[in-house]
Symmetry: C2
Subunit: 435 residues, 2 copies
Amino acid sequence: MPEPSQASPPVVRVGVLGCGNVGAALVDLVTSGADELARRAGVRLEIAHVAVHNLAKPRGGEVPAGLLTHDAHAVATSRDVDVLVELIGGVEPARTLVLDALGSGKPVVTANKELLANCGAELYAAAAKAGRELLFEAAVAGGIPLVRALRTSLAGERLRRLTGVVNGTTNYVLTRMSEDGVSYGEALQDAQRLGYAERDPSADVEGHDASAKAAILASIAFDAEVVAGDVYREGIESVEPGDIEFAHRLGYEVKLLAVAERFLDGSVCVRVHPAMVPSEHPLAGVRGPFNAVFVEGEAVGELMLYGRGAGGRPSASAVLGDLLVAARSLAGGPVWFPPRRRVEIRPIDDLETQYYLALDVLDRPGVLASVAAVFGDHGVSIRSMEQVGLGEEARIVFITHRAREADVQASVAGLRGVDAVKRVGQVLRVIGAES
Amino acid sequence: MPEPSQASPPVVRVGVLGCGNVGAALVDLVTSGADELARRAGVRLEIAHVAVHNLAKPRGGEVPAGLLTHDAHAVATSRDVDVLVELIGGVEPARTLVLDALGSGKPVVTANKELLANCGAELYAAAAKAGRELLFEAAVAGGIPLVRALRTSLAGERLRRLTGVVNGTTNYVLTRMSEDGVSYGEALQDAQRLGYAERDPSADVEGHDASAKAAILASIAFDAEVVAGDVYREGIESVEPGDIEFAHRLGYEVKLLAVAERFLDGSVCVRVHPAMVPSEHPLAGVRGPFNAVFVEGEAVGELMLYGRGAGGRPSASAVLGDLLVAARSLAGGPVWFPPRRRVEIRPIDDLETQYYLALDVLDRPGVLASVAAVFGDHGVSIRSMEQVGLGEEARIVFITHRAREADVQASVAGLRGVDAVKRVGQVLRVIGAES
């Protein structure tokens, strides 16, 4: 690694293997955000080489052609690469390339679930022998910061069980079946049309993808040798709309779950199958292509981590986090505090959001007109209103369109001056659609 | 730090300041799990000293009296302490003690939100100067692994907004008001009875606690100097049952939110106030004393981290995770892979859970009796059943009590031999109450 100058942070050169969705998004994040990343992380990342199978394939504007090469082995072992990012997928040649990189002293970041689910123990041993990091946040649940949490923040925790919705394709299909009452086939076709499912969906719908992730989760949660083949597996093909109807009637949702469980005798059970999840359980609300993992530990109790489990940019974000950790480690140890900046703190008056407002009013003709005039005078536009009760007991509640706090507060002051307004109640900011 | 022998992992000696709920739970976790922790983390933690205000106060069986001392300063600077854990709370004397510990070369783990929200920049600068870690996972959202995620996995992410339910007391009160229709006063009394609220609840219900956490979150998410005093604050005292009724009618829940937001011009807005949250938003489902933080970033999209935001053991779990990271760092760098163990993989036949089972049957007298007999013969006990339709179209669905997979599968095989059973449909495992 080149020596840092006094003025600028050390440069860490990155070799990337594979340039699909995740690779292209990663190169874009690293190059477009270089200065910001250097300031935040105290290291400057430079993409040195990107190895691809097909040099002729168009890659969009993000990946400069001069970085591309066909020779993955040369990138994995090159002297001018400090950290290797493996995004090829599958077991070989990824396994050999990762071992070569570790053997030549490079930390490795990978998003490759098949590789880790089948050869994890071999790779960890190689990384430990080399004294180099092997980081794989993106391999399970994409952008969700789960793997590092299990390996660090929860390192002192006796974990009992991890229960995850870890496959976005099947969760999209089951969500459509649950919410729109469509058949499995129809939901799958929609998923394919939207790019949530492959043309050959078997890896997802038969539970193979989820099984690989379950094996990795069990391995890191329980320090156990668990490979994909150890995982009991059922897919979602046989789930019928009638089952989902009954589930609703009984207060459940149907989800494809990956479960890794440890018993008091130290044995583990790792399984993937559709299951009934109580509606009030946090996993029941994980909809569409989202993922979540529910963690049960002896001291920490119940945790859930939720987010986008797939997709180029969410996964690239996780790879980038790993890359910065590996780069920091190369650049001189784990102690790093990004410089704090003085920033402008916006006063609440400048906030723009939607508002809820409750008024107690005298129920007589013209009240709404005078109230609406006050809002209008201050440029606050009403999205919906509702009146409840009659006479002395009448209450009107409003939800505004996006408005400025200062204008809403001025409206409140104005409303206090309206004769028919007996009381201005709670003003609540509204998050969601227009925020 | 003593040198490790060949056979055993290096010992890292821990000084603890303060021994309330979190401190006592931490000492218990460290001492009761010492061997397991040493195996997992590759370092052996030893509690060297615990400084307390009142030596005479009973501390339960977890904290050996021989560890206790009155002299916090001596612990913070002692040569036989490798890592300091600060659990006193408040600004002084915690601030001075933490600075002294960093100045004497010790990494520091703290759960002290007031300290970080008011003196964060000073402490980070001192840690950077000392080249020692300052870790504070437990200071925001207790056991939820949020702080490390923001500082590492999401280090490459341009974060736009963090929206959190970060105060368990107020969330318990609002949940009771929402679900049971009780008044603010009644809900608060229940919270006090259950230990979710202090006798003087003002720090929670007026939003001070949440404001400190919001300031810390804004600081680490945006690398910004934000102190508690920069946070706009409203409490929940004026929320009325009527507001919550309207919220429900309009499709919302009322939550006390801590929001840290960054705008394109680099300015930030940090605020704590009750807000209307759409029912389908993941934060709307955060009930009772639970916490969650919803994170929006440019590449990663939407994330949520959910769990227990307070309590001795969840917070101690987060402190322990930090402690192991600091100890690993002292013991020789960040590259550590716990040894993988071969474990017994339990076959699915041994699984015990509840089951859902759907049967298409001929609707004639005695069918249920013959079906029930099959379950009974295999030791499977039925918790609920429901029949829908009549005649040729009849379907019966069952949910079992906790049963063994092998017995359920044997029942399925047996049911296929019952004349009146036309088809055995989906078998779904049920998670929740009995699992």
